[in-house]
């Protein structure tokens, strides 16, 4: 082996890249992975087609600054929910990592999902692992150029579809498709389609396992969530060693060998190009391709399956296994509490907001009747999906009067209504120069839609 630059722990890091040709694995985990990939790809490509109440079901409407999530409309003020959701997703990742190891990496990470899709297309066009390697070694010929051109055309077409779908989460898909076919696509929409397509093409077609090894922060810190009871993919050295080739039907013990026939298939199927028999490595994304591959070989040799298997450090050492352990309980508790808090908060969310802005030009003025008057601009934000009529009142000072042109205000669904109101109070009732007052806004047709907003009332003060 040539010398590789290594980091301080001696692990190869930043090695010069050698292309990996993963061999296709067949078996129960491969089927499970394909099922998971198809489900996730289906969700990604079909979600923008879903409709809800005559609009796209999930849409980040940037110009209107609204995020539609089925029946829920979120405004920039609701950013906290999105942040909460991200924190929740992060915690869920911790929880599942502690319990099941890197299942996320092997079955659900977009990098894995799209890489597998691109590998599938590559296999359909260039053939299996040995055919691909032969093709790459072959001198340039018309046939080689044709095959490569076809592969890249299919890859680029799939990337463009991916990029188009991504932008369809921000611009309604029917509008986007219309603009595309009529040549009216905005420059930025085009930019983002191409940007996302290029990223997909590069990540899934070329970078592949290097993204996991060099770019993924999770791959670097996931081991912190691991303990001796975390599910890992591992080779059984006591059973497998000493490895070596033998004829079929020979009892390995009679020739001083273990169950591993050293066929190297587990290495060939590995998408990150490692040898699982060297022990747990941080490059391993727990995709379980080597389990399927080895099981197939064990079946052929009539040996029991499971030379490479899902196990835990404890169970492979014969120690007792703990599923419920402090780490799991702590992650689960935090997860449940946060989940509950977020759900309660969303269910208690009042789809109404009131902004009160005091007139900046004059602090106060005196009316003809000798009352002190303050002017406010109110911004009423109806975040509900139906239009409502509201009444407004104010309190906080004895005998406070609210003067407005309209006693009832109608605000359409999802819009902002601006109105100017005046508050009048007797100087006698003002304890200080600046007194807190409260505006109460109440929907007439829905009891739960009410909001209270504080403001200051300024007067001359006691002299």
């Amino acid at each position: 082996m040539q010398a590789q630059p290594a980091n301080n722990d001696g692990n190869p890091l930043y090695a010069a890249h050698k292309k990996i040709y993963p061999r296709e694995a067949h078996g129960r985990f491969a089927r499970l992975r394909v099922l998971s990939l198809l489900t996730l790809l289906g969700i990604y490509y079909l979600t923008p087609l879903l409709q809800w109440d005559g609009r796209q079901a999930i849409l980040f409407d940037l110009p209107a600054r609204k995020f539609y999530l089925f029946g829920l409309t979120l405004w920039p003020q609701d950013f906290i929910y999105l942040a909460g959701l991200l924190i929740l997703a992060g915690l869920a990742l911790f929880f599942f990592t502690a319990l099941l190891g890197r299942v996320w990496c092997g079955y659900a990470c977009p990098q894995t999902v799209w890489t597998e899709a691109y590998l599938w297309m590559e296999r359909k066009i260039e053939g299996n692992r040995s055919q691909q390697m032969k093709l790459d070694k072959a001198p340039i010929s018309a046939a080689k150029i044709r095959t490569k051109a076809l592969k890249h055309t299919v890859w680029i077409a799939f990337s463009l579809w991916t990029g188009f779908t991504f932008v369809a989460y921000f611009t309604p898909i029917d509008v986007l498709a219309n603009n595309l076919f009529n040549g009216n696509l905005g420059p930025w929409e085009l930019f983002w389609i191409l940007f996302y397509s290029f990223a997909t093409y590069g990540n899934a077609g070329f970078m592949r396992e290097q993204v996991c090894m060099y770019m993924c922060p999770y791959a670097r810190f996931q081991s912190a969530m691991f303990d001796s009871d975390t599910l890992i993919v591992a080779y059984h050295p006591e059973r497998g060693e000493a490895r070596g080739s033998r004829r079929r039907g020979v009892d390995p013990k009679t020739v001083g060998l273990g169950d591993c026939i050293d066929c190297n298939v587990c290495v060939q199927v590995c998408p990150t190009g490692i040898d699982i028999r060297d022990g747990l490595q941080y490059e391993c994304i727990a995709c379980s391709a080597c389990i399927d591959a080895c099981d197939e070989i064990m079946d052929k040799m009539s040996y029991p399956r499971g030379l490479i298997r899902y196990t835990t450090e404890n169970s492979s050492k014969g120690n007792p296994q703990h599923i419920l352990r402090p780490r799991i309980l702590v992650y689960a508790t935090i997860l449940l509490v946060l989940c509950g808090a977020l759900l309660t908060h969303v269910s208690q969310r009042v789809a109404l907001d009131l902004d009160v802005i005091r007139d900046r030009n004059t602090l106060y003025r005196e009316t003809r009747d000798g009352l002190i008057e303050n002017v406010y601009t109110l911004k009423i934000l109806n975040m509900d999906s139906a239009s409502h009529r509201y009444t407004l009142r104010a309190d906080g000072i004895d005998g406070l009067k609210l003067v407005t042109d309209r006693p009832e205000l109608e605000v359409a669904a999802g819009s902002v209504h601006e109105t100017v109101v005046r508050l009048q109070a007797d100087e006698f009732n003002l304890e200080q120069r600046s007194v807190p007052v409260r505006f109460h806004l109440q929907a007439l047709d829905a009891n739960h839609l009410s909001i209270i907003e504080e403001a200051r009332f300024v007067g001359p003060g006691k002299s």
């Binding site: 630059p5 930043y14 905005g186 060099y214």
Partner: protein
């Protein structure tokens, strides 16, 4: 034990080490920034510009990315030059 230095790390990986973390930071930064401020209300340097919201968000994101890239480049530069300096000093 060898330590990776600029001359040993392939160019693409150096570029990714700068571009990728700054990309993530730019997403977070523009998410927080644009939740608080509507680009319609922001008129930089009193310029009279009329651009679409998507353009405003996109330019905002790219600006955040550039700022973060500059910062990442600084970190990258100092890390590499520190390693060279330490290597010159000997063990």
């Amino acid at each position: 034990m060898d330590t990776p230095t600029a001359d040993r790390i392939p160019c693409t990986q150096q570029a990714i080490a700068v571009l990728w973390p700054s990309f993530i930071v730019a997403i977070v930064a523009s998410g927080v920034f644009f939740s608080a401020f509507n680009p319609k209300d922001l008129v930089p340097f009193n310029l009279d510009i009329d651009i679409s919201p998507l353009a405003a968000y996109s330019i905002g994101f790219l600006l955040f990315w550039i700022i973060a890239i500059v910062s990442s480049l600084g970190t990258h530069y100092f890390t590499i030059s520190n390693r060279r300096f330490l290597r010159k000093q000997g063990p």
